[in-house]
């Protein structure tokens, strides 16, 4: 799951995650989307940029 807040500054970056993923999967440039979503500091940007969603992969092993 996407962390609720940025590890460094504490901004609620999880709010932006769903839209970010949709738009990037739709072929938009990740950097532009991040700026669009109001994530200007690089600590917050790397949170979304480097996130890998794993809950689906873990589910069968419950």
């Amino acid at each position: 799951m996407i962390p609720v807040r940025c590890f460094t500054c504490g901004k609620i970056i999880s709010l932006a995650w769903e839209e970010y993923r949709e738009r990037v999967e739709g072929g938009e440039d990740a950097g532009t989307v991040l700026t669009d979503l109001g994530l200007h500091r690089y600590c917050c940007r790397r949170m979304l940029l480097t996130h890998k969603e794993l809950v689906k992969d873990l589910n069968p092993y419950q």
Binding site: M1, I2, V4, R5, C6, C9, G10, K11, I12, S14, L15, W17, E18, R41, V55, K56, L58, N59, Q62
Partner: protein, 280 residues
């Protein structure tokens, strides 16, 4: 002491503070971060959790959700009449009951006190798949940021010295500093570089412009100099929504006032005691 706001919104403030020492500026910053209480979920009673996340991770995620805080309604448990045992003045309760498949959001938490609802409704807490279920009860209390960062009312909260830029006569307007500045602080004009006044406060004090100027072969001293004005600070305060920034600033200043007052009182006690003895 002088304070000039250039921006004051609900969740963000930018202001210039003048005529104070480094020590005061820093205590002010730290008071805003760690001495202003907010509500955050502290205890979670989990009745059913068949999701992929462990109870502990789930509880940690719940704790990080910012909650609207009314400081006139709630008290710190340590300062409450109940003595910390728990009463409606020092905690509030949320219930959550969801069945998958779906995404569980912060908005699914049902607050007992509607005024103390989560700031955002769309914070993803966890994903539930087929036949998974989550039933829990959470209790939020007031706390301070110095204990756990979930109680910090601020996100980014910091200051820097006020920049002073001087460009001397040796400048030949080569424009290398202008190209180098990451904040677009400088411009070229009339054969000489100049500072764009509206962008002055954006300066990072990175001194890349000085380096660029030296690289241009002007000598050992650059024609442009970046200095910091002592005792003048640019503050940037961002709130997480639990309290309006205006209130964070006010509460932090009240805390500083209160702690200096109690220090003075104890000093008075000590000094008063000795002077009495001397007069006898």
């Amino acid at each position: 002491m002088d304070i000039v706001f250039s921006r004051l919104g609900d969740n963000e403030a930018r202001f210039v503070l003048e005529g104070v020492s480094d020590g005061f500026a820093n205590s002010f910053r730290r008071a805003m971060m760690s001495e202003v209480p907010t509500l955050a979920i502290e205890d979670v009673r989990i009745y059913d959790n068949t999701s992929v996340l462990f109870d502990e991770i789930l509880a940690s995620r719940l704790g990080l959700i910012p909650i609207r805080t009314d400081l006139s309604t709630y008290r710190l448990p340590s300062r409450c009449e109940c003595g910390g045992a728990g009463c409606p003045r020092c905690y509030t309760v949320y219930t959550l009951s969801v069945e998958g498949p779906c995404m569980v959001y912060s908005g699914d938490l049902v607050p007992r006190d509607p005024a103390a609802s989560p700031v955002h409704d769309r914070i993803p807490i966890l994903r539930l798949f087929e036949n998974q279920k989550l039933v829990l009860e959470a209790r939020a209390v007031l706390g301070k940021g110095k204990e756990h960062s979930k109680w910090q009312p601020t996100i980014a909260c910091g200051y820097k010295h006020y920049p002073v830029i001087t460009i001397d006569d040796r400048c030949d307007g080569c424009g290398m500093c202008v190209d180098e500045c990451p904040r677009g602080r400088l411009a070229n004009g009339k054969g000489k570089a100049r500072v764009i006044p509206e962008r002055l406060e954006l300066c990072l004090l990175c001194r890349l412009c000085e380096k660029a100027c030296k690289r241009g072969g002007i000598g050992s001293e650059p024609a442009i100099r970046v200095d910091e004005e002592r005792s003048r600070y640019i503050f940037n305060v961002e709130g997480d929504g639990s309290l309006p920034v205006r209130e964070i600033i006010k509460e932090a200043l009240l805390h500083l006032k209160e702690s200096t007052r109690s220090l003075l009182e104890s000093l008075d006690e000590i000094a008063g005691g000795t002077s009495d003895e001397e007069s006898e």
